[in-house]
């Protein structure tokens, strides 16, 4: 089987791997690199559990072929906490009890991070829109919406 070299930056570290052509980024991250924070919930693009940030944009790693990410800068939830200090979003998810089974959580946090990167003080509607591609079956969404709003508030307080 044809192996293709892929190089990208993952959570600040250079990664270089040979993957089978046609391998999705989700498989490359989980099975080759060992970053299992993106989850495979549907492999259809309908659940958002595999969400990662590629070059500043939210993307679905299950529908992205690894070899199209050559040279890209990729962020996942596993790279979010800095030296063991939780990111404000992670902190807020804990404080607002926004996780239950936890399977959707990494994807939710990625979707929320992209939002806050571009819109530090989002409205509730903007949060709803930002999370709309991510399925949660446990929480009924409200605690997650509250977590993102809480993180935004704590960010703006820290900035002030």
């Amino acid at each position: 089987m044809a192996k293709v070299p892929v190089q990208f930056t993952l959570n600040g570290s250079e990664k270089a791997e040979f993957v089978d052509s046609g391998t999705t980024l989700l498989h490359a991250l989980r099975d080759k690199i060992g970053d299992t924070s993106p989850k495979g919930g549907c492999h259809q693009g309908t659940c958002g559990a595999c969400s990662v940030i590629i070059d500043g944009e939210l993307r679905l790693s299950c529908l992205t072929l690894a070899e199209t990410c050559d040279g890209a800068v990729i962020s996942t939830t596993s790279g979010l906490s800095d030296s063991g200090v939780l990111h404000p979003l992670q902190r807020a998810f804990l404080d607002t009890f926004a996780t239950q089974c936890g399977f959707c959580t990494p994807g939710m946090i990625m979707a929320a991070k992209v939002l806050l990167d571009h819109t530090p003080n989002p409205s509730r509607d903007e949060v709803v829109e930002a999370l709309s591609g991510n399925i949660c079956r446990c929480t009924g969404y409200e605690p997650i919406i509250q977590a993102v709003l809480t993180a935004a508030r704590s960010n703006s307080q820290n900035a002030a």
Binding site: Q44, F97, C101, G102, R137, G140, Y141, I144
Partner: protein, 334 residues
């Protein structure tokens, strides 16, 4: 076009645990040499928070802070038998098993402390902070840390306990159906308020006010998680979900999260949750199982609210815009 508003109520009860009993769960508890406690189970955490709740139950029973307890669960090489996490049984069955195991471990712990303090074990109590005190003379105390060290290295004792909880199986009487389906029941009452678009049949759930009686809220924030999520699922069942939209016709079953409908984050009803506690006689610290019942009363409450709004009864789930529109057209034709 008219948006019409209505409200409906429903009240329900729900049995805790496997119907007719016969569903055992076992637990083991032991202390480490420095007085931390390990709970060993084979129960499964589905996201409802089994591990955290069992830690709190063990901590309460032993008399230590929750962060001194570690739960090792769902490994069949180490954990004793649990029937499984379903039927609202996890907290109730496993919680009782953990209490029994923790009580036995606590007794050993108090006996070792009694030897160290040279008093009777029955004269000792815990302060919940990790210390064992002589009742009425709290200045005479020993830390659980020291008791565990003594048990392990000096006195050759195992601070441990075994727990087992089993509701005996009930067999229904053939002719009358006399049986004991459950030993405790949770309760709920929901009032739902909806808007119905009478030209399209679309329903918006504006508010749901849910009152749940769950025996005891062992961890109120985690109870809230289950109840809020369950309330959402109830609304979802009422209005959206099915794998066979044209049942009993088998065609057009959804195969993804786009086709299988559930309310999105833009469809949320304003949700109010009120919890009452009537402790159950056989529940762990009175707790009943709230996990399933919390998703039930919204379904009929929404159905009744739809009727209140537009005067048509949809007796088939889910209550889709199509079913409402067909009923409205039939109503107009009559």
């Amino acid at each position: 076009m008219a948006i019409r508003r209505g409200r409906g109520v429903a009240a329900i009860n729900y049995p805790t645990g496997m119907n007719l009993g016969g569903d055992p769960t076992q637990a083991l508890v032991h202390s480490t040499p420095t007085g931390n406690f390990m709970v060993t189970l084979s129960s499964v955490d589905l996201g409802q928070g089994m591990k955290q709740i069992m830690a709190q139950i063990c901590a309460e029973t032993i008399g230590v802070p929750t962060d001194r307890v570690v739960v090792d669960t769902a490994d069949t090489d180490t954990g004793p038998h649990c029937m499984g996490t379903f039927a609202s049984r996890g907290t109730h069955r496993a919680g009782n098993a953990v209490i029994q195991a923790a009580r036995e471990a606590r007794q050993v712990m108090l006996e070792v402390a009694a030897e160290e303090l040279e008093v009777n074990a029955s004269d000792l109590e815990t302060d919940g902070q990790g210390n064992i005190l002589v009742k009425g003379a709290p200045q005479k105390s020993i830390s659980i840390f020291d008791v565990a060290l003594s048990a392990h290295f000096k006195r050759g004792r195992s601070i441990s306990g075994r727990g087992m909880f089993l509701i005996p199986r009930s067999y229904p009487e053939k002719e009358t159906g006399a049986m004991k389906p459950s030993t405790c029941y949770a309760h709920a009452c929901t009032v739902a308020e909806v808007e119905v678009d009478d030209e399209t049949g679309e329903v918006t759930v504006l508010t749901v006010k849910n009152v749940f009686e769950i025996g005891r809220a062992l961890n109120p924030k985690m109870v809230e998680q289950q109840l809020v999520g369950g309330s959402w699922m109830g609304i979802s069942h009422a209005l959206y979900e099915t794998t066979e939209p044209y049942y009993p016709n088998r065609d057009h079953g959804g195969t993804d999260f786009n086709q299988y409908l559930m309310p999105g984050p833009g469809d949320l009803a304003e949700t109010e949750i009120i919890v009452l506690e009537r402790p159950s006689a056989d529940g762990p610290y009175g707790a009943k199982g709230p996990g399933e019942m919390c998703a039930n009363p919204q379904i009929p409450a929404v159905a009744n609210a739809v009727f209140d709004a537009v005067g048509v009864r949809i007796d088939t789930l889910p209550i889709t815009p199509e079913r409402i529109l067909r009923a409205l057209k039939a109503q107009a034709a009559n």
